[in-house]
C-alpha cells in the first residue's frame, strides 16, 4: 500500500494537445479517490500516466514516496481495471486472474490459492474454467476486478469500470466495489464521468475540466461548497439552476423573486450595489409552499407558472420559466464555465424538486418556496464562486 502524489503533472500528446495541465493531487494511503469530469477532460490520460501507460510530459509522480516517472508499468506495482475489461479472450477466468502472478513467477500452488480466494470473494468460483466470451457483462467486470485484487498491489487504478454495465447492475456493482475497497483498504484511483458514482463511492472526489483540476474535496463539500460554476453544475442531479441576479442593498433580485442576502453573501459580493451575479439554486432547495410547514420562515415564497411536471413517484420535478431577458447572460457565463459540455444544461428553465404530494399541475400557477440559505453566488465573468 502506498500514497500517490501528482506534482504538477502535465501531459502533452504528440500532436501538441495538452490533455492534463499541471495537475496537483495527493492521494493518501488507503484512500478511495474519484477522478470525475465530462468525457474528454483528461481523466483517462491522468490515470494512464499513474499506471505508466502514458509518458509524463512534465512534473513528478510519486508512488509510496518514490519517484516513478520513468518506471515501466510492471515496476510500479499497480493493478488496473479497464473500461472494456481487457480480459484475455484466449485464457480462462482462472488464467486471466493468475496471469500477473504467473509472470511474476509465483509458485503455481500459491497462484491457485490466491485466485480461488479472490474468486470466492467475487462469486466467480463456478466460472473459473470458463472463458470471458461466455460470461455476462457483470461477471466479466468481476473477473477484471479479480485480476486486480489477486496481485495485492500498492494501488488500484480503475477507468470507468462500471460504465459498460446496465443501470441496475451498475448500482449493484457500485456497492460491491465500495465494500471491496473498504475491506482491502488499498489506495484506489477511480475514474468516472458519472457524478452519482463519484458522490457515492469515494472518500474524496477530484473534479476535472479540460485537463485542469477544479476542486478536490469530499462529496459533501463539493455539493455544499463548490469553488466555481463548473463544479456547482457538474455535481448534483438534476443540476443546479443558474439564474441572473442583481444585488440591491441587502437583497438580490432574481427573475422570479427577491431573496435576502445572508451576512456571508453580503460580504462576498462587497458593497457594490447593483452588481450583477449568477445565482445558483439546487432543485432540491425548492419546495411546494403548501408542504414546507415549519420551515416556511427560512425561505421565500413566490408564485410561478409551471410549464412541465415530471413525476418520478418518489419525487416530482416542476419546471418553470426563468424569464428570457436574463437567459443570454447566464448562458454565456455557463458556456464559458464549460457547463454546456454537460447534458441537459438548459438555462431557460428552472427545475424544482418537490415532494410527491405536491399539487403542481402543468400550466397552473403554483406557490413555491425556496431555501434562502442555500443560495450560491458566482462571478459572471470568471465563474468563480463569490465567498466571504
Amino acid at each position: 500500500m502506498a500514497d500517490i502524489v501528482l506534482d504538477h503533472i502535465t501531459k502533452k500528446y504528440g500532436d501538441g494537445y495538452e490533455a492534463v495541465k499541471s495537475m496537483d493531487l495527493e492521494i493518501k494511503d488507503g484512500e478511495f479517490m474519484i477522478l470525475v469530469g465530462p468525457s474528454g477532460c483528461g481523466k483517462s490520460t491522468a490515470l494512464n500516466m499513474i499506471a505508466g501507460l502514458e509518458d509524463i510530459s512534465d512534473g513528478e509522480l510519486k508512488i509510496g514516496g518514490e519517484v516513478v516517472n520513468s518506471r515501466a508499468p510492471k515496476d510500479r506495482d499497480i493493478a488496473m481495471v479497464f473500461q472494456n475489461y481487457a480480459l484475455y479472450p484466449h485464457m480462462t477466468v482462472r488464467e486471466n486472474m493468475g496471469f500477473a502472478l504467473k509472470l511474476a513467477k509465483v509458485d503455481q500452488k500459491e497462484i491457485d490459492r490466491k485466485v480461488e480466494e479472490a474468486a470466492e470473494t467475487l462469486d466467480l468460483t463456478e466460472h473459473l474454467d470458463r472463458r470471458p466470451a461466455n460470461l455476462s457483462g457483470g461477471q466479466r467486470q468481476r473477473v477484471a476486478m479479480g485480476r486486480a485484487i489477486v496481485r495485492e498491489p500498492k494501488a488500484f487504478l480503475m477507468d470507468e469500470p462500471l460504465s459498460n454495465l446496465d443501470a441496475k447492475l451498475r448500482v449493484q456493482m457500485r456497492t460491491e466495489v465500495a465494500e471491496l475497497q473498504d475491506r482491502l483498504g488499498t489506495t484506489t484511483v477511480y475514474v468516472t464521468h458519472d457524478q452519482t458514482e463519484a458522490m457515492t463511492l469515494g472518500d474524496r472526489v477530484a473534479v476535472m475540466r479540460s485537463g485542469i483540476l477544479q476542486q478536490v474535496d469530499t462529496p459533501g463539500e463539493l455539493y455544499n461548497d463548490p469553488v466555481n460554476l463548473f463544479v456547482a453544475g457538474f455535481i448534483g442531479s438534476p443540476s443546479m439552476n443558474f439564474v441572473h441576479g442583481k444585488v440591491s442593498g441587502n437583497e438580490i433580485e432574481l427573475p422570479f423573486t427577491t431573496l435576502p442576502l445572508t451576512e456571508d453573501l453580503r460580504s462576498a459580493v462587497g458593497d457594490s450595489d447593483g452588481r450583477e451575479v449568477i445565482a445558483g439554486l439546487r432543485p432540491e432547495h425548492f419546495e411546494d409552499a403548501e408542504l414546507v410547514g415549519d420551515h416556511l420562515g427560512a425561505g421565500v415564497t413566490f408564485e410561478a407558472k409551471i410549464d412541465l411536471v415530471e413525476s418520478m413517484g418518489s419525487e416530482l420535478y416542476a419546471y418553470f420559466d426563468a424569464g428570457s431577458d436574463q437567459v443570454d447572460k447566464v448562458e454565456q457565463a455557463a458556456s464559458e464555465a464549460g457547463l454546456d459540455e454537460l447534458a441537459g444544461g438548459d438555462t431557460n428553465q428552472i427545475v424544482a424538486r418537490l415532494a410527491p404530494e405536491s399539487k403542481a399541475r402543468r400550466g397552473e400557477t403554483l406557490k413555491l418556496w425556496v431555501d434562502q440559505d442555500r443560495l450560491l453566488l458566482f462571478d459572471p465573468e470568471t465563474g468563480e464562486r463569490l465567498r466571504a
Partner: protein, 293 residues
Amino acid sequence: MTDRARSERRLGWLLCAPAAIAMLAVTAYPIGYAFVLSLQRVDLRFPEESGFVGFDNYSAVLSSDLWWTDLFNTIFLSVISVSIELCLGMAIALVMHRAIFGRGVVRTSVLIPYGIVTVVAAFSWQFAFAPDTGFVNQLPLIADDKDWFGERFSAFSVIIMAEVWKTTPFMALLLLAGLTTIDDGLYSAAKVDGASAWQRFTRITLPLMKPAILVALLFRTLDAFRIFDTIFIMTGGAQDTQSVSILGYQQLISRLNLGLGSAVSVLIFLCVLVIAVIFVKGLGARQPESGRA
C-alpha cells in the same frame, strides 16, 4: 421447420447455385477428367494403344525414384520457404501495424514484390546469381566463380530466396489483418500485469493470431506445394531440383503421356487435399475467440 425457414433456405440455395455451378465447371470437371485419364493408358505418341489400365499409372509413378525425389524437393522447398516467410512476414506485419507515419507508403512498398509476375521475378534473381554477369558473385565473401545453379542445395537456396522475396508480402498482409483484430487494451492490461514486450508477443499476440496464422500458412503452403515457375526458369529441374508440378508438366506436355501425367496431377491434388484438411482441422479445433472480449 416453419414454412418461412424452409423458403429462406431454398432462397439461400438458389443464390448459391450460380457460384456453385461455376466452381463445379472449373474445378470438379477437370479434376474428374484428370482422374478418368489417369486410369487409362493415353499416350499421344501411341494413340492406338489407348485403353483402360486401372491403377497401373499410379503404381508406375509411386514406384519411380523420380516421384519420391521430387516429392522430397517439393516438401523441402515448401517447409523452408513458408517457415522463413512466416517469420519475416510476422516481423513486417508488426512493423506495419506499429508504423505511425507513412503507413500507406510502407504498406504499398512492401507489396511491390508480390505485384511482380513470378516469371519476371525468377529471371531477375537468376540474373543476380548468374556466375558470369550477376552481381552477387562480385560481393565480398562470395567466390567469384560460384555456380549457384550447378549444385542442388545452392540452387535450392536461390529458389527459396526468390520465393520468399516474392510471397512474404502476401504473408505479411494476411498476418496484419489478424493483428489488427487484437484489442490494444489487451496490451495495456498485459503491461500492467508485468509482461515484457516478448511475453506480450508470445502470450497475447501469438495465441490470438492463431487463426490468422493458420489461414496464412494454409494459403502459402498450398501455393508453395505447387511451385513451378521459379524452378522452371532457374534450373528447369536440373541438379535434382525438380518439383512434383514440373514432373507432372513433363509427363503431360513434354512427353505427351496424358495417363501418367494425370496420375501425377491427381497425386498432387491428393497431397494438397491432405495439407488443406490438416490446416482446416487445426483451425476448427478450439479456435480462440476473436481479440475482443
